[in-house]
Amino acid sequence: MSAPGGLVEQLPVLLVVVPLGAAALVAALGHWTPRLVADAVAVLVAAVASAGAAWLVVEAGGGRVVTWLSGWSPGVLGGTGGTGSSGGTGGHESVGIVLVADRTAAMLVLAAGVLVLAGLLFSWRYLEETSATYHALMLLFLAALSGFALAGDLFDAFVWFELMGAAAYALAGMRVEEPRSIFAAVELGVVNTLGASLTLVGITLLYARTGELALAYVGERLRAQPADALVGFAFALLVVGALVKAAVVPFHFWTADAEAAAPTPVCAVLSGAMVSMGVYAVARWWRVAFDGVLPHATVEHLLMVLGAVTALVGAVMCVYQRHVKRLLAYSTISHMGVAMLGVGLLDEHGTAAAVAYLLGHACTKGPLFLGSGVLLNRYGTVDEHALFGQGRGRWLTGSVFVLGGLGLAGLPALGLWWGKATLEHALSVAGAPWAVAVVVAAGALTSGSVLRLTARVFLGLGADPRARGEGEEPEEPEEAEEPEEAEEPEEPEEPEPVGYRTIALMVAPAWLLLAAGAALALVPWVHRAGATAGAVFADRQGYVDAVLHPDRPHAGLVGHEETVWTGSGLALAGLTLVLALLVAAAALWAPRLRAWPPGRVAARAVRPVVGGLHQVHRADLPEQVAWLLAGAAVLAVVVGR
C-alpha cells in the first residue's frame, strides 16, 4: 500500500478525515486566532476537499475505489468465521469498516464540497458576528456528508448521519436571537433524531438476521435466504431516517421551517447536499442489500407514490409562500420528490437520472438561497410583499434569481436540464407517463413561484400586494412587521457605493454554482460520466465483488449513454417553461383574474384544498412526530408483510 496507487485508494478516507481534523483544530484554536484565519482555513479545506472529490470522480471511472479501514482487509484473519458461513461470501469476511467510492458517491461528495465552499465564501462577508465554531461546524458537516456518501457499512453510515444531524441542529439554531431559528432547530432535531432511531432499529434487525454490518455482506446474506416479514420490516424502518433527511412527505415538516430560519449559507448546504444524501441512501441501500430480496413491484410503487405526493405537495405549497426562503424550501421538497420518482424506478437509468437531477438541483437551489441572503442583508426582510419593487435595477442579484428560476423549470443549458431530461426519458421508457406529468407540474409550479417572486421584487410587476387589503393578514402580525434581523446591523442606510463590492463578493459564490450547473448541462463528458456512474451504481454484483475481493482487478463498466438533447426533452422543457410563466403571470395579476368569472370559480375550487394543506402544514412538534410515526407505519405495512 505505497505511494501513487496508494494515494487514490486512501482518497475516500482523506476526504472525510481532512475536514474532520481541520474542524478539530479550528475548534481548538479558534479562541485565540483572528476570524480571518478561521475563514481562510475553512475555505481552503473545503476547496481542497472539492478538488479531491473531483479527482475521485475521475479515478473511480467505471469501477470503485474500495478502502478497508484500520488495516482490516478481508482475508487478514484467514477467513475464520467460527461456524461455516451460510451466505455467498466464502468465509472471507473482514472485521473492519469499508468505504466504497463509486462515481455516484464521489459526485455527491463533490457537490457537498462545492456547496460548503460556496457557503463559506458567502459567509465571509455575510456573517460578521460569528466565531470559529461556525467554521468548525461547517467543516464537520462537510466531513459527515462525505462520510455518509462513501460509507459501505450500515452502522458507519449511521454515525455520519448523526454527525450531519448534530452539525445541522447547531448551525440551524445559531441565530439565537431569532425565535424562529431556535424553534426550527428543535423541530429539526427531534424529528431527525427520531428518524435516526428508527433507522438504527432497522440496522439492528438486519444485524440480527444476517450477523453483518457491511452493506455488501448484508446483501449477500439476505439473498441466501427467502425474504420474510422481518426483512421487509427492517427495510421500512431503515429508510425512515433517510426519508426524513430527504424531506419526503410525511417526514418533511421540518424542512420549511429549518430552511427558512437557518442562516443563509447553512440553508444552501441543507437544501443542496443534505437532502440529496437522503435520496441517495434509499437508492444505495436498496440496490446493494435489498434488490432481489424484497418484491420489486411493491417497493417501486411505494417509492414512486411517495415521490409523486412529495413533488406535488411541495410544489403547491411553494406557490402560496411569500417568505422567500420558505418558498425555496418547499421547492426543495418538491424537487426531492421528483428525484425520488427516479429512484423509485429501481433501475439503472432511473437512478442515474435521479443523481443527475440532485446535482443540477444543488447548482440551482444553492444560488437562489444565496441570493435570498443578499436580499435579507440589503433590505432586512425576505417577505416578498415587503420587497415589492425594491430590487428595481439591482441586476447583480436579480440575475441570480432569474437564472435560478428558469433553471428550476429545466431550461436547457442550466443545471437541472440534464437531470430533468434524462429523468423524463427514463420515466417514459419505463411506462410511467403520469410521472412525467408530475415532473413537469412540479417544475412549472416551483419555477413559476420563483419567477413571480423575481418579477415582483426586481421588476415591480403586477399589482402591489401591500395595496390590497383583502385577506392579507398574516397569522402572526409581529412576524410581518418586525423585519428579519439583518446579519450586519451596522450597515449604513444607503448601501450604494460601499455595498456594491460586498454584494458582488456575496453574489460571486452564487455565480460559481450557476456556472457549475451550466457545465453539467453543456459538457458532454459530464453526461458520459453520469451514464457510467449509473451503470456502476446498478451493478450489484460488481459492488459485492469489489468489497469482498478488493485486491483483485475488476473490469470497468462503461455506461450506455442516452442522448440528453432530444426533441422530446426540449419540448417538455419548453412546456414546463411556458406553464411556469403562466403560473407566475396568474399570481402577479391575480386580482384581475379573480374578477373574471372562470377565475373566480377556479379560485373558489382551489381554496379548500390549499387551505387544508396550509392547516396541515401548521403542524406543531407533537403533530410532526405523529406524522413521522404514521409514515413509518405505512411503510411497515406495505413492505413488512
Partner: protein, 251 residues
C-alpha cells in the same frame, strides 16, 4: 381538536407498528440464540492484536472509524452548545451574586467534596488508561473525569469551578484531543498499514502496555470527552445561575 386528531394518528401508527413489529420479530431467533458471526471474528481479531477487552478492540481498533465519527459528534455537540448558549452583546451579564455561595454549603458536603474530588479524578484516569484491559475506556473515563470537576462546584461554588475552567483552554484540549485521534490514525497511514490501523507493537494480552495504539486512542478520547462534558455542563450551569427569576417552569 387538533390535539385529539394528533393522538388518534399517533396511536393508530404505533398500533400498526407494534402489530407488524411483533409479526416481524417473531421471525428472529429467541434472544440468546441469535448467531454472531461478526462477533466471533471480532473476538478472534482482538486476540490477534493482544487486546483483552474485545469491546475496546472493536471500538478503537476494528471499527475505529466509527468511533472517530462518534467522538466528533460529541465535539460538534459541545461546540454547538457553546455556540447556542453564548452571550449576546445585548445581554448584560450579572456575575455578582449566585444562589450558591461558599457560606451556603454544609461543612460535611464540602469535606466530602474535597475528599472525593481527587479520588474521582484518579478513578476516571484509571478507567481511561485501562480501557483495553477491563471494562472502560476513553468515553466512560472521560465522563467520570468531567463529573469529578463538578464536585468542585457542589462542594464550593461556581467561582471555584470557573477558576478551574479558564476560557479557551477547554476548547483547546477538546479540539486537540480529537485532532490527536486523527493524528494517530494518520500515523497508521504513514506507517503503511492504513488509516487507524493498530500498527504499534501489540505486546502480550493482559499487560498494561498491550494492544498497540488502543491505549493511546483511549487517552485522546478521554481528554476530548472530559473537556467536552466540562464545557457543556459548565455552559448550562452558567445559564441556570444567571437566569432571571421570572422564567416560567411549566409550559
Amino acid at each position: 381538536m387538533r390535539t385529539r386528531l394528533t393522538l388518534v394518528l399517533a396511536g393508530a401508527a404505533l398500533l400498526v407498528l407494534a402489530v407488524v413489529g411483533v409479526h416481524a420479530v417473531s421471525e428472529l431467533p429467541a434472544a440468546g440464540d441469535v448467531p454472531h458471526p461478526y462477533g466471533a471474528r471480532a473476538v478472534a481479531a482482538a486476540f490477534g492484536h493482544a487486546t483483552a477487552n474485545a469491546v475496546m478492540s472493536v471500538t478503537l481498533d476494528q471499527r475505529g472509524f466509527d468511533t472517530l465519527g462518534e467522538e466528533l459528534v460529541l465535539l460538534a455537540a459541545a461546540v454547538g452548545t457553546v455556540l447556542l448558549l453564548r452571550e449576546l452583546a445585548a445581554e448584560t451579564r450579572e456575575k455578582t451574586e449566585h444562589g450558591y455561595g461558599p457560606e451556603d454549603v454544609f461543612e460535611a458536603l464540602r469535606l466530602v467534596g474535597y475528599v472525593l474530588l481527587p479520588v474521582t479524578l484518579l478513578v476516571g484516569g484509571y478507567i481511561v488508561l485501562h480501557g483495553h484491559l477491563s471494562p472502560g475506556g476513553g468515553f466512560q473515563g472521560g465522563t467520570v473525569l468531567a463529573t469529578g470537576l463538578y464536585l468542585a462546584y457542589l462542594a464550593a461554588d461556581y467561582r471555584a469551578l470557573d477558576r478551574l475552567r479558564p476560557p479557551g483552554v477547554l476548547d483547546a484540549t477538546e479540539g486537540l484531543g480529537a485532532f490527536a485521534y486523527v493524528a494517530i490514525g494518520v500515523s497508521g497511514l504513514l506507517a503503511g498499514s492504513g488509516f487507524l490501523a493498530d500498527w504499534l507493537p501489540h505486546g502480550t494480552l493482559g499487560k498494561p502496555l498491550s494492544a498497540g495504539t488502543v491505549p493511546l486512542l483511549n487517552l485522546a478520547v478521554g481528554v476530548e470527552v472530559g473537556s467536552a462534558f466540562v464545557l457543556v455542563v459548565g455552559k448550562f450551569l452558567e445559564q441556570a445561575l444567571l437566569a432571571p427569576d421570572d422564567v416560567p417552569e411549566e409550559g
